[in-house]
Symmetry: C2
Subunit: 381 residues, 2 copies
């Protein structure tokens, strides 16, 4: 097909792809490094899967849900279709199951990288998505769920984001009720009703589970109240272990994070299709910006729990980072003097003699200091 | 077209795409961070362009040379073709010319990220290429060329790679002779002859420039010897400024890096098509591994000089990084105690009670220490 290049406006990027300019790009890189350092301190070892893989591998298993959101491209080498990763969890699960199958469990892995999604034409939204996350593979217990959430909180606190809310859910409960009790049009109707939190429609379409579903809808709120309300409901035998686990998860999280703000939404189920246990969405308390999400799932056939933070989002609510003072220096300065300025927190800008006067050049280059009398001297304004 | 998924072997990645496992992935991330920190200390500000752009923008100008190496994909949103970036220099030039056109010059920018190239089917080679680099945009002078090269040396030294060689060339000289003096089959013949360093063929096809080209071929070697030999040759007027600039570049580099190992190859011209001045390839002295490359070019209509380091390559020759000692700790340990262990260089691994005895679990999880009597205690072997 013919291209219609718009060379008159080379600034125009495809919808959802952006340049990060100096302040943002530096903040993203430093924020990512801080988060990855927290994960590393807790024994999570970093892996780095590639940006693209064969689609048969990348979009299988838990990746199938993201198939429609993935850019595909033909590999001229193998004549097989590849896909740009829309998410990294599938890749980490593959690495755990294949490359690191002989490593001891619990296996703690961390990752950071960019993902690409197709998005919805005509609607706003990032299509290149930065992710930084952890996966705890092996144990299936409340302490493991709590560890993942506690490390998310510690990582965000490192960025100065202390006021967050962890919204917990157990989507497998609603999915289980839907799959056992409803089929065809009735299934569509109850999904739609729950999705809209429409109590009248849930009562109308809920059949034998109407009371239970309405009770679960009513239990949404702060964790201790939600758990009390769930206590009064009559769950079928197969759901009772999930209610008990949710209670154990809340207790284990509060044991690690006594002041954590936890909410529970027992009917949050959309967008959590492959999860097998507790799920969590992390929000900034004031802006309600989503900072990350995660949950329990199967990595291959192993129990796993993970959390992914969204650097794009959390940088909007993080405290601004201190920037280096800028000191204009002569271009042939001794490495020793340069190093001591760097250690003292300065960026050194070498004068390339673009202006006749150093001071003028320093102003021009937005420097705060100038090297004078063998020391950094604040620039007169 | 039909897919033939090979689910029996999910470890099989497309040729040239690899997983980095814990030790490598951590080393790459820490190496990149160290390199970017050196650039930041010298006032280079980080930008982060997207992984893909419209091909009309990404593969224009200096990017045109890489068009054949680029994966293309259709944007369903705009119905225009996009390309995965095969290189980041074009993107940085676009950002400088458009997004940062009002920022003062010299403009110092740094970047780090992954690029993707199609590669040659059937031949080995990475297709996902990590890059970390700088661009110095504005000044066209030897001190600017030297600054870029000196920062490359400082960044590599930070990784423990002190023994490097900078191989300088000035490809515009050979290209100028070829374009002015040869056409058609004769041009092909002289390019082929120079490419093979075939003195007899250069003499046969070199026409009026045979003596000069042979003299330039003979001048390959350590910078001071090469410059002496070039001194004895008779260059046409339009090439004399390039010879003078090469001499000035060598002097400026040695002023900043008195012990630098510099070589000059005046007939290195292949693969340097859009460069307007000095070009440099950085090699590890012992392995001859290429660690980076760069040179002078036009960013839009502005003079610019840049250098790109290849993290994949330099990690193979860098000193191994010290790893955190691993200490098994109880899962409910006070944050204060955890933090002091982290500050003392330990990674803390929370016991999730997978083994009956902590010591056994610590061995199993490859820990070097265990938390005992309120302190990290070396694990008996």
């Amino acid at each position: 097909m013919m291209e219609t290049p718009d060379l008159s406006n080379p600034a125009l990027l495809p919808m959802g792809f952006v340049d990060l300019l100096p302040v943002e790009a530096e903040a993203e890189a430093r924020g990512l490094a801080a988060v990855m350092d927290v994960f590393s301190c807790h024994g999570y070892e970093r892996v780095r899967p590639p940006l693209l893989e064969f689609e048969a591998s990348l979009l299988s298993g838990s990746g199938a849900a993201l198939a429609e959101q993935s850019f595909r491209l033909l590999d001229p080498s193998s004549h097989r279709m590849m896909a740009l990763r829309p998410d990294m969890t599938t890749q980490i699960a593959r690495i755990a199951a294949v490359r690191m199958q002989d490593c001891p469990r619990p296996l703690r892995l961390s990752y950071a990288g960019d993902c690409v999604v197709i998005g919805t034409p005509g609607r706003e939204g990032q299509r290149q998505i930065s992710q930084a996350g952890i996966e705890l593979i092996g144990p299936d217990k409340a302490e493991a769920d709590a560890e993942v959430i506690a490390l998310g909180a510690e990582a965000l606190a490192k960025l100065g984001i202390a006021h967050v809310s962890f919204d917990l859910s157990m989507p497998v409960m609603v999915w289980s009720l839907i799959e056992d009790g409803f089929s065809g049009a009735e299934r569509e109707a109850i999904i739609h009703a729950l999705d809209r939190r429409d109590a009248a429609a849930v009562r109308e379409h809920g059949g034998a589970w109407a009371e239970l579903l309405l009770g679960m809808m009513d239990a949404v709120g702060p964790a201790h109240i939600a758990l009390q309300k769930l206590e009064t409901l009559t769950f079928p035998d197969k759901l009772r272990p999930f209610v008990a686990r949710l209670r154990a998860d809340v207790a284990a999280i509060l044991a690690r994070l006594p002041t954590a703000r936890l909410t529970v939404d027992p009917v949050d189920f959309r967008g959590w299709r492959y999860h097998t246990g507790v799920c969590v969405t992390v929000f900034a308390l004031h802006s309600r910006e989503e900072l990350g999400r995660g949950g329990r799932y199967l990595a291959g056939d192993e129990p796993a729990c993970g959390l992914t933070l969204h650097p794009h989002a959390f940088l909007r609510v993080a405290e601004p980072l201190p920037r280096r003072k800028r000191c204009l220096v002569p271009s042939y300065m001794a490495q020793k003097d340069l190093s001591s300025l760097h250690e003292a927190g300065y960026a050194t800008i070498a004068s390339l003699g673009e202006s006749s006067a150093m001071e003028q050049e320093a102003h021009h280059l937005r420097c705060s200091h100038i090297w004078k009398d063998e020391q950094p001297t604040p620039l007169p304004r």
